[in-house]
Symmetry: C2
Subunit: 434 residues, 2 copies
């Protein structure tokens, strides 16, 4: 993965100064490596956790069948966004073109009466045998309203058809939570989330690993890509540490009035990865109070744009409108296989495309956009992935999770909590119980 | 459709004052009704255009087969976002649960080498007869790079397998464009877009009507919902005119520093509708110059959030972070059919859900969020649709398109152009031709 910041309006001198400021925290992170799951930052110990791999591997084997068609993931927020990122990048985006490729992953997050009612006939028509489905209920604290409601509805419906359906269920939750205990009493397969690993940092725990491994994703490569990136992001020298660099660029741009970070991704299959990052940045840095409990109402609003699609949508706003955005252009080396373009039906409608591969045109658009941004004086970083594989996705996600930890230092906020979310939950519970 | 603005921080007195300011423009819009497609605002004449319905109807009948499986829409931005909104709301969101429901719509917008390579095997495996597919190439000006490239690649591949594939093609473009002429020479079915109807205002033209009608959408209801809303949005009295009201709320909140408009939609099947609005607001109001050619760099950044999903993602930022957002809560009456919740497997994990319908819980969450926003002093409007049907979707979209016209007046910008988009196209073309 290559990160370039020379058009970010942040100088190397400023980057180096921030590196010096962050270096004691990098020292602290190195110590976290020795402490298992004791620290708030302990998600960095997930890659390389052999016990985790063994417990996930055992659950994967336990649910092995030759006829698996659907993996149903019931979870919301940090409990499904990471899994969906990787599934969509590798498979999900192409599901519509591959009706017979199995297994497919189906996600149930919010309470969606319309989707649930379609799901009833889906179970009737598409699932003829319980071995065709695996259900993964994921809730860190074990008391997420949406997840419990969806799980009860799905399991209730399936149980009438398949009395033994609980054998096809895996519950992923904090060790010892109420949900854990309920699953234990009913002999339901359980996978633990370490208590100090928060939802938005949990993709490399059993939360992501179990459903992804079931879907055929090489989770060993995912973790090893993450582990290599983690080691880079522990470097005390900011020039070797991409998480420090991107945190510095986001922070300095925020101080220059760039309150929005647009993640402009030039591969539609990475849209869900953008949404995963949206939670990560939104929840980690969007805060009412800083670490000294001073009211700050601070945060960077993350947005996700897809290239070149959104050039035909919000491109006008980005190029002509308010200068309140730092853009992160995200792309992977384009796949150069496939046919060259031979204009035939509409020859002459568009010049310059004959003999080019689709990848050449996609690259020219991305380059053209970057030149247009530069000419307008709009700041951006560039991220280039070598490819879209589990290893690259693992590296990207590990980088971004550690970027948050450094950003928390720079903004003086706690990147691990989300206290304001409680407010609507309290109101909702009071309505439900009234 | 019901629009409520009493928590928007804009008083009725201010609303009425803006209504007086906008009323001459409403007079102008009434005159546009008499002028066919002569004016910039002439998209408001699409509902009720009998000739349009006849030409679309003829093309639909011409491409009728009993074995249609896929409608392939090749277009980008204004050429597919409206179609995708309606398809996804009614069908697309449920595609994964209904593998055998046909026809399905497949969208090809950006140049996506990975998707294109999957598409080749898709044609091989899934299309055994040309009657199983209809292709709709949509490009207003007829020279959109992505669309021409995608069309050539798809038609090239399909033609080798089905020599008569051009009979299954419909080209939607400006009457008389180069693309129109090329299609005419090859006797390809053509549907015109009125020249003064811009891409983001074109969903109710042949751009949306043809593919949607092919997919089985009741386009008569779509248009009639739009027509009724159009008539409301021509009222000189702002109290009767939802487009004036929402324009006033957006404008006044912008003046109070709310530079982001978050469209918080509580039905996941309406996510694409949110993305359609994102183009509409982003491109129409995001401007470098005002109508007097003064540099203004103005605009509202539209974002789309999905409830309750994104409460578990960016909810923390929204409730705790910077106060730079006006929220539009969008929901439809929840479907109350379906089973009540009977806690069984995880009884006691979540109180207050037993005996409730999923719709009751979804409603309680939405209510809870609104109370939490109000307690934090965050401004919002509320839109309640009676249901998610073609008529309601047509009404919503017509409302929003007319909102833009009024907003253009308030911001003193041209809501029909997108001059800055040219900059990256110029750079791209120069790279492709070098």
């Amino acid at each position: 993965m290559k990160l370039t910041y020379n058009k970010s309006h942040v100088s190397e001198r400023e980057i180096v100064a921030i590196g010096e400021q962050l270096s004691p925290y990098a020292e602290h992170l190195k110590e976290v490596l020795q402490h298992g799951y004791e620290d708030e930052e302990s998600s960095i110990n997930l890659p390389g956790d052999k016990e985790l791999m063994e417990s996930v591997g055992a659950a994967v084997r336990d649910k092995n069948t030759t006829s698996l068609k659907y993996i149903l993931v019931i979870g919301i927020g940090g409990s499904n966004l990471g899994t969906k990122s990787i599934y969509d990048a590798l498979y999900g985006r192409f599901d519509i073109l591959e009706p017979s490729r199995m297994p497919k992953m189906v996600f149930l997050d919010t309470i969606d009466p319309a989707f649930l009612s379609h799901m009833e006939s889906f179970f009737d028509k598409e699932i003829t045998n319980e071995e065709e489905i695996v259900i993964n209920v994921v809730s860190k604290g074990g008391r997420t309203t949406e997840t419990i409601v969806n799980a009860e509805l799905v399991l209730g419906t399936l149980r009438r058809k398949f009395p033994g359906i609980l054998d096809r269920l895996v519950v992923t939750t904090d060790f010892g939570s109420l949900l854990w205990k309920m699953a234990e009493e009913q002999d339901i397969t359980r996978l633990p989330i370490p208590q100090k690993v928060g939802g938005r940092y949990s993709v490399l725990s059993a939360v992501g690993l179990f459903p992804l491994a079931k879907a055929g994703v090489n989770v060993i490569a995912l973790l090893s890509g993450a582990q290599k990136m983690r080691d880079r992001c522990l470097s005390l020298d900011i020039r070797e540490n991409p998480a420090m660099v991107s945190a510095a660029v986001l922070f300095e741009n925020f101080r220059m009035g760039k309150t929005i970070n647009d993640n402009f991704i030039f591969h539609p299959e990475l849209e869900s990865l953008g949404k995963w990052y949206r939670q990560l940045l939104g929840e980690s840095i969007g805060k009412e109070h800083d670490r000294d409990m001073k009211v700050v109402r601070i945060g960077i609003t993350p947005t996700v744009s897809i290239g070149s699609t959104d050039l035909h949508s919000v491109g006008q706003l980005y190029l002509g409108g308010p200068e309140d955005k730092l853009t992160t252009f995200i792309s992977a080396e384009f796949n150069k296989r496939g046919n060259a373009i031979t204009p035939e039906v509409f020859a002459g409608a568009e010049e310059g495309i004959a003999g080019k591969k689709p990848a050449d045109v996609a690259e020219a658009i991305l380059k053209g956009v970057k030149i247009a941004y530069e000419k307008k004086g709009l700041p951006f970083m560039e991220v280039l992935l070598p490819d879209i594989t589990p290893a690259s996705l693992g590296a990207f996600m590990q980088w971004k999770m550690m970027e948050m930890m450094y950003l928390g230092e720079l903004f003086n906020v706690n990147p691990f909590d989300q206290p304001n979310v409680e407010s609507y939950k309290t109101e909702t519970k009071s309505i439900l119980n009234s």
